[in-house]
Symmetry: C2
Subunit: 555 residues, 2 copies
Amino acid sequence: MAHLTDQEIASKATIRPIGEIAEKAGIPDEALELYGKYKAKVDIKNLDGNADDSKLVLVTAMNPTPAGEGKSTVTVGLADAFNQLDQKVMVALREPSLGPVMGIKGGATGGGYAQVLPMEEINLHFNGDLHAITAANNTLSALIDNHIHQGNELNIDQRRITWKRVVDINDRELRNVVVGLGGPTQGVPRQDGFDITVASEIMAVLCLATDLMDLKERIGKIVFGYTFDKKPVTVGELGVEGALTLLLKEAIKPNLVQTMEGTPALIHGGPFANIAHGCNSIIATNTARKLSDIVVTECGFGSDLGGEKFMDIKARFGGFKPDAIVLVATIRALKMNGGVAKTELGNENVEALKSGIVNLEKHIENARKFGVEPVVALNDFVTDSDAERNFVLDWCKERNVKVALTQVWEKGGKGGIDLAKEVLAALETENNFKHLYEDELPIAEKIEKIVTEVYGGDGVIFTDKAKRQLKEIEDNGWGHFPVCMAKTQYSLSDDPKKLGRPTGFTVTVRELIAKTGAGFVVALTGDIMTMPGLPKVPSANAMDVKEDGTSTGLF
Amino acid sequence: MAHLTDQEIASKATIRPIGEIAEKAGIPDEALELYGKYKAKVDIKNLDGNADDSKLVLVTAMNPTPAGEGKSTVTVGLADAFNQLDQKVMVALREPSLGPVMGIKGGATGGGYAQVLPMEEINLHFNGDLHAITAANNTLSALIDNHIHQGNELNIDQRRITWKRVVDINDRELRNVVVGLGGPTQGVPRQDGFDITVASEIMAVLCLATDLMDLKERIGKIVFGYTFDKKPVTVGELGVEGALTLLLKEAIKPNLVQTMEGTPALIHGGPFANIAHGCNSIIATNTARKLSDIVVTECGFGSDLGGEKFMDIKARFGGFKPDAIVLVATIRALKMNGGVAKTELGNENVEALKSGIVNLEKHIENARKFGVEPVVALNDFVTDSDAERNFVLDWCKERNVKVALTQVWEKGGKGGIDLAKEVLAALETENNFKHLYEDELPIAEKIEKIVTEVYGGDGVIFTDKAKRQLKEIEDNGWGHFPVCMAKTQYSLSDDPKKLGRPTGFTVTVRELIAKTGAGFVVALTGDIMTMPGLPKVPSANAMDVKEDGTSTGLF
């Protein structure tokens, strides 16, 4: 049977004028700014409502295969299922980065019959948020280098500029560059590098700000480098937080779209979860909470990455908590964690499931560590066998773990009704949510706690450089920040090859970077790159656009 | 008397919902895509109308002062005057580049009471066109470098890549860079550089394309570099023209806004006129021609730059002609061309006017060379004296040159009624428009003709490099392209210090670049830079945004 691509399914779907969706969501006209017929921005200053009587459902996952386990798909499908059960629901998602879309990933708007629309526009420029972030980030870079070139009143050491330029493109060629060549009128030569836009602190700041003035304050606090006597220098000292915030005044407004079943969806902000904190914006989550009774939101990758950061960073700054946690698991990922090669994941293998399910077990324990009893969503694939499905469902039931088979890819919301009912039951009882650590714990101990409790490791090794940076961070008064771990998504450890539920490992922190605007400290482990590369045959090669503006190749 | 800033005037203006403006312009609902309440894109495939029964008014200028002579202001004010005279009129303008807005220039949406609204949004990200162009340009760069890194099937010589990356920021630090450092997994090291986005061939191509499929065809023809055996390599050979065009499918739609007096305005595309061809898109001009009886459009800088390129490039590719030409002159620019220092331009000096007016004389002759009798618009400044005004008006009348004093900055359309009446009279009679040269003339002779006839020089000197490139261009079969001169805007010559009406000079062409997608050959003269720098105190430092999203500092 030939399957339709996600893009083909999306192109056949009925899409409603966004005004209808806004009305359904209870967004008044004066808060709605249309972007074409099917997208809008929401001006939150024109919005009433109390966020605290809403329930928040967080969708996270086990450690994934490279193709992903359909977390966005389950998030969308679960919201559609709530919608079918007549719940007042909204979904809050991250917005896709253009780099991976053009590179290896294709679209990032759910899949099958659980997608958000219009998928082409969301996957391409959407409403310009990422472009605005790129512009603000690179305007700051130009202003810093110009300041040095024009006399350097702030005594900035060009060898100690930590602020990098960004592009929203997978461009390995820009990872390590030398800029400012060409002689005295062409800037000051220095070593530099580009990150992908979603790794920019501007993205993190936009996603963690609670309103425009909080955004400006946070941008003012960003440290972009150090003086020759090693003192941090902030955007506020350069005097350009107003201009940078001005560049973000539209980007800060959450974007309203719809699922294929007409459920209102806010898609806003998209930091990667391996190199950044991996959640949609606090503003979007709070807007959805104001507007609806149930909000379904996702975080990037597994409970060890996006999940932990949701609890310890986003929930902390946002002042909310997850009322329920959904853990997405797939037969494929369980088998891979049981040692099966990527090319063999389509073949039945219950033995591999048995050895791989320890990975899921750890993620279940992780949710409980935060005081929340999770619901496992077994996301169905056409290659799964009944024996395999039953093994996972039985395994969960035997351990009193709530579980539901979801078939939202194939059936839309209808395929998520069982899951929705389990989650509704979970929402009935108040949980005992708590952060993993308190602000006061020193940075090194925060990392230690994440590694031992969430990753299941024995401890942390700090390189000499990281040790020096730890001291600098505490000396600069940033020790109270939460930690944003940069780690591979493929393993609970910092080694992507250690699958299943590794034990007896340590995690090496090679570098620490204080993001003083975002208000967290990034701990870099393993080979996490902040600028991806393109594959030998990029997705871009298969893309095309026709005379009427319709396109192909976005998967 | 304290004057209001342009931004203050704009913020006090009444702005109408863009749907009302669209209705006035005769744009049907199905062709209108709202971007917020006051901006829209026009989907031209849903638009009827015959362009050829419309009259096109081109606004150009004499050689300007660094502050500019208010060409956009006159263009907007003239359209508003036609509107007041009950003509069915639209204005077609270029969209501003963010780089100069943040750098030295402030807003670029007209001034005083002759502005387009909403000025903040137009000056910042507008509807995302420039960001889409940046993304398409840099995606191509990443795809080229990735192709080389992944085995280089096309045999591209990394020393002969002519395609540069771009940012829409004045960032001198990126003029000369080395990319691909860091070892074998981090790309192929090579020398590179960034241009400002408006200098990208993607911008030129977008502005010269007649529809989406023409855009794709042109992008496929872009030569981005040469093989080791010096053969040109095109985007089509790389197989990514579909993806790049897909990135531009929204950007190709012209943007509808309004003047402060409610005249419909299309703002679309913005190549610089000193380094590129300097006109808004053919699609916007043709859309305005379809919709209205009179279209007022501008080109960048003087008749020697944007004017010549409008006639020889845009009009050639667009298949239309200017039915009237307005030449904007100011007392200030005339005095500067008469040798007065910038700081003294506010003081009465009729003697300097007498020696500077030869500059205007040459621009009048230039319009006539294209077969069009111009109308001089003397754009009034508060520092001008009656003696000065009368001198210019009399000088024109004595020579049978049509002239009108315009006070649109101070009075809006009312201040442009005299000018509008002169232009209406000019539109009554058919002109004898012709291009300066035919396609068949060799590139060197085209340049010779521009220099001798439009600039008033004695001839052209080609550097050895340029001579070699001339031969390559003819050998590659690109000799039939028109020429896009890159020259200083401050002088009719290639030396910004030669003011007035210089004679006895030669122009040195130091480099020639074939833009095979745009379909023209760029001839670089003097020190024209394709990446501006920021001044010591950039405009960004004065910008701020308030809690309600309103801003200050955009001038």
